[in-house]
């Protein structure tokens, strides 16, 4: 290996860390400012236009906190009942009235590793469509909650899991659940980009190939591979060398490849576990853009340490602390006018 290569990689890593720290600092500064800081509001993008649920953010914007009675009527196009009911007690499905609108829900979810309980009975609601951000300080159980949704938690032999996770109304922990089907319908993107040591093409094709009975040829797979690479915003960068080793891509490209790979399984929900924490700001921005785009056609549940990022991309937010879900609801509500003192302290950057 060329020693210059190593040096370059080290330099890059150092730079990346600097950037990350700068990003964290700016996030902290932002969070520490006035919660009604207009820049923070501006940073929250409107929810994707193609979201199947009636636009919840638009409906809630004029309503001050606690003024549930003043919630405007839902848009005429929506046949569902009032999607917003803010005055309900904490940790209740405060933002979605109709359970049919929930694509995912945790009910009394308890997870323990070697008897050490990480989640103490969590009730989470993930409305269909849009981005749900799980936020909270380190060790609060966000990632465990996320990994329990597609049943990766149980890969650890010491894990014990109680309660329910409802996906489209059906408990994924019920007996007879087809795990492989569940994990195709609920895809996952990890913290560290983890492409397989194969070519770019094979990485994407892997998701499609093995679920087909017959091994499809490259020509048959190409349209699908090209499609998901396009949706992941990577096509233009890799279309000329699909046979390159995926590990030769940059970190940000690798993460977009992982998203493409996940999309290839045709999921309804994508779980993301701090997908940008190993990336530089520019790659982070691209992934965030992509997340918002994808949330137009599917549901994204993202764990993030980065409050600024959550504010930028989330439509809904849930705040966890020490294994309890403290508050959840419309993102703007949670971030700017939270009901709970602990949430207020957290979003104000007082800890976490």
């Amino acid at each position: 290996m060329d020693p210059n290569d190593d040096q370059q990689r080290l330099d890059e890593r150092a730079k990346r860390q600097e950037w990350r720290h700068a990003l964290d600092r700016s996030a902290d500064l932002r969070a520490a400012g006035d919660p009604t800081d207009p820049t923070a509001v501006a940073a929250t993008p409107p929810p994707p236009p193609a979201a199947p649920a009636p636009d919840p953010l638009a409906a809630v914007e004029p309503a001050p906190f606690g003024a549930a009675a003043a919630v405007p009527a839902p848009p005429a196009s929506a046949a569902e009942p009032d999607p917003v009911a803010l005055a309900q007690p904490l940790a209740q499905p405060a933002h979605v009235a109709d359970p049919a609108d929930l694509v995912l829900a945790a009910r009394g979810l308890r997870v323990a590793f070697s008897g050490n309980e990480i989640l103490h009975g969590v009730d989470l609601d993930a409305p269909r469509g849009g981005v749900l951000a799980l936020v909270g300080p380190s060790g609060c159980g966000k990632t465990t909650l996320l990994r329990s949704i597609n049943r990766l938690t149980e890969l650890a032999p010491t894990a014990t899991i109680g309660g329910q996770i409802l996906f489209d109304g059906a408990d994924v922990y019920a007996g007879g659940t087809d795990l492989n089907l569940l994990r195709r319908r609920v895809g996952m993107v990890f913290q560290q980009p983890n492409p397989f040591p194969m070519t770019i093409f094979d990485n994407v094709a892997f998701a499609i190939r093995e679920q087909a009975k017959r091994r499809p040829s490259r020509g048959e797979l190409m349209p699908q591979v090209a499609d998901v690479l396009q949706r992941a915003g990577l096509w233009d960068e890799v279309k000329d060398n699909l046979d390159r080793n995926a590990l030769s891509l940059s970190g940000g490209q690798q993460q977009r490849l992982c998203i493409a790979r996940t999309l290839a399984a045709n999921p309804e929900v994508i779980l993301m576990d701090e997908p940008c924490s190993a990336l530089d700001p520019r790659s982070t921005a691209r992934i965030e853009e992509l997340i918002v785009q994808l949330a137009g056609s599917l549901t994204i549940v993202i764990v993030t340490h980065n409050l600024a990022q959550a504010k930028r991309i989330a439509d809904y937010a849930a705040y966890l602390l020490n294994g309890d879900l403290i508050e959840q609801g419309i993102a703007q509500q949670v971030f700017e006018d939270p009901a709970n003192q602990s949430t207020r302290d957290f979003v104000a950057g007082m800890f976490g």
Binding site: L152, L155, E210
Partner: protein, 306 residues
């Protein structure tokens, strides 16, 4: 250079140890080359052993021995490799039930530690039973089998080739990052698909190392060959042994490998012709070296184009 005295001493010891090793290997190789190269000729490599070896220079060739080594290695590894890889996958990816995993672990260690002549003796006891005479030959009408054939020796060779395959593969499989397994599971892949498409390909170089070590052990073993293949090097192989339709007969018959040839023709054996012994030793070394390099080369995957 380190500054502290204790560090200097440590580095010094490391240098000396490394140098001693290199010198020892170089001396052995040079000795073999000097002594063996003179014997090696086309006739030596392609001829059959001559009836009398008491006089140096008329001991004939080593072709049957070379073929014998290849056969024993190939058949031994044909059993040891799939079995060893399977055991390694069981020990790393499944480990259930725990008692079976523990037992397997101990068994592998035992096989690794026991000298091959013990297995050879055990094999003799088993394969000499009459009903197993189809893998060797019956002994007259005694109801016993000779227990000396390529089949018999290969089966026992598989046993001594197994532990290196298991241990190397195990280490390599453990080295495949869990993130890749998780990535495959998260794409809705089952355990078997994940093992087949992600874990084993990722462990390929380590698995190849295991095969190389196993091949070395089998090709270098003398005790099993002597007891289960026959010590009569100079007994000429059956007429037309190289013809394909005589293959079964040949595999059921006695034979020799390079190691037994070396033993037999060395001054310690009956032959007392060190020249051919060195020549055969040199050939054995080259054969193993070629197999090593070929396997390591093959196992290195080059992913895609640059």
């Amino acid at each position: 250079m380190p500054v502290r005295l204790s560090d200097r001493i440590g580095v010094g010891i490391a240098y000396v140890a490394g140098t001693i090793l290199i010198v020892a290997v170089a001396v052995i190789m040079l000795w073999l080359i000097v002594q063996g190269l003179g014997t090696i000729s086309w006739d030596f490599l392609t001829g059959e052993p001559a009836p009398g070896t008491l006089e140096q220079g008329v001991s004939g060739g080593i072709l049957p021995a070379i073929v014998g080594t290849f056969l024993v290695v190939a058949f031994g590894m044909a059993v040891a490799f799939p079995l060893g890889l399977g055991v390694a996958i069981f020990l790393t990816e499944y480990r259930q039930p725990a008692w079976l995993a523990k037992g397997t672990d101990t068994a592998i260690d035992l096989i690794f530690g026991v000298p091959s002549i013990v297995f050879a003796l055990f094999g003799l006891a088993i394969f000499s039973q009459g009903w197993l005479s189809f893998i060797s030959n019956p002994v007259g009408d005694t109801g016993m089998a000779t227990a000396q054939s390529f089949f018999c020796s290969s089966l026992m060779m598989a046993l001594i080739g197994l532990p290196p395959v298991v241990r190397s593969s195990q280490a390599a499989i453990l080295g495949v990052p869990d993130q890749q397994r998780e990535a495959a599971y998260a794409l809705g892949k089952g355990r078997l698909t994940t093992i087949r498409r992600i874990v084993v390909p990722g462990a390929r170089p380590g698995i190849a190392t295991g095969i190389v070590l196993g091949v070395g052990r089998i090709a270098g073993d003398t005790a099993i060959v002597w007891i289960l293949l026959g010590g009569a090097v100079l007994q000429a192989p059956p007429d037309g042994w190289y013809l394909p339709w005589n293959l079964m007969d040949f595999l059921r018959s006695e034979g020799s490998t390079l190691t037994t040839y070396i033993f037999f023709s060395s001054p310690a054996g009956e032959g007392n012709s060190p020249g051919p012994a060195y020549g055969a030793a040199f050939v054995l070394m080259v054969v193993i070296l070629i197999v090593n390099i070929a396997l390591i080369r093959l196992s290195r995957r080059k992913i895609g184009k640059r």
